[in-house]
């Protein structure tokens, strides 16, 4: 599953984001999963738990939130909500020129114990 490679990237990102000299423990990591990122939040959470199980992050609470998606119609200069990649502008019926939100997975914040 690509959730495996993502989980490894997330652990690496968490590692780089904390000052180990000051932090006793990472308690919680909050992750936003875009609706159009192609990633299933539930699968990602399970994979994170599995991958972290043998590391210092074994007790971390992984909090997943879904981020809604939106695209931009270049013809109408109008943003519109999207549920699928192929959703169209509600005004002109054209496909989105670009996806402006919701196509990424982001580590939003970390709660640490100092």
């Amino acid at each position: 599953m690509h959730e495996l490679s993502l989980s490894l990237n997330i652990l690496d990102l968490v590692e780089r984001s904390v000052d180990k000299g000051k932090v006793r423990q990472v308690c919680e990591v909050r992750i936003e999963v875009g609706l159009l990122s192609g990633v299933d939040a539930g699968n990602l959470e399970e994979m994170l738990k599995m991958v972290a199980a043998t590391t210092e992050y074994a007790d971390v609470r992984w909090v997943m939130t879904q981020k809604d998606a939106s695209g931009f119609c270049e013809k109408c200069c109008l943003p519109f909500p999207m549920t699928y990649l192929w959703d169209v502008c509600p005004r002109c019926g054209q496909r989105a020129g670009k996806i402006t939100e919701g196509d990424d997975v982001e580590v939003a914040s970390i709660i640490v114990l100092e």
Binding site: M1, L4, V39, R61, L85, W86, S109, I111
Partner: protein
């Protein structure tokens, strides 16, 4: 069981475990996918600078990706140097076949990985000098799900489905077909023997990606290969 501390209670507050004065929120706001996307752009730029057309070939296992490349190499070598990056979990079987067909091949074994990443491609293309003005094929790991979401920096993405897989692949795996630029329907020589409706497949494909170009191939008897080679050459000549 409480998932946070493992005690027998249901979820409960943990202020006693993590006293407020010791807890700190660290804002991160960093993309997990952006790093690989940056490698995709580096790949794209390298291909532009060296006038290389990169085709990312995707499909489920057994649709005919490697055989397509073997036949394509034969048709392209008179006009252009061809390089192939092969992606599989294990073995060098496919890259061995490609070298026998006459092209340069690099094998990436992903181990547990279910798709190639732009970083993997970058490691190959930045450490080997690919011929200028040439064709690069990337044969992705056989999988209609995961490779769809990962831009490798390709010029075009080619999705193959064979008539032996059933005509419902576009409906069942829409992300892959939406993200592709051309669809090859392969094993047309077997069409009389299987329950496959071209109309049904095209109907679903049209809903997901209207106007998508479709070519019909039989790698066994060569049907459609001329049109496919022409498409590659036209894509190469028309690249930005």
């Amino acid at each position: 069981m409480c998932e946070t501390c493992g005690c027998g209670e249901k979820e409960h507050d943990h202020e006693d475990l993590f006293p407020e004065e010791n807890r700190r929120l660290v804002e991160v706001k960093q993309s997990v996918l952006q790093e690989d996307r940056a490698f995709a752009e580096k790949n794209r730029q390298l291909f532009r600078e060296r006038h290389i057309t990169c085709l990312n070939v995707v499909s489920s296992p057994g649709s005919g990706k490697t055989l397509l490349l073997e036949r394509s190499i034969r048709g392209l070598l008179p006009f252009s140097a061809v390089t192939v990056i092969e992606g599989d979990q294990q073995t060098t079987r496919d890259s061995d076949r490609i070298r026998k067909a006459g092209a340069t091949a690099f094998q990436i074994n992903t181990g547990l990985g279910c798709h190639l990443t732009a970083r993997m491609i970058h490691e190959v293309v930045s450490s080997h000098v690919l011929p200028e003005n040439s064709i690069l094929f990337i044969e992705n790991v056989g999988n209609l799900v995961c490779p769809a979401m990962f831009d490798l920096g390709e010029t075009k993405r080619v999705v193959i489905m064979s008539v032996t897989e059933g005509d419902d692949k576009p409906a069942k795996y829409p992300f892959m077909f939406y993200s592709s630029d051309i669809c090859l329907i392969n094993k047309m020589d077997l069409l009389p023997y299987v329950d496959y409706s071209i109309d049904a497949a095209l109907h679903d494909l049209k809903h997901i990606k209207p106007g998508m170009e479709v070519l019909y191939l039989s790698l066994k008897d060569g049907t459609g290969m001329g049109g496919w080679i022409d498409w590659i050459r036209k894509t190469h000549n028309n690249r930005p």
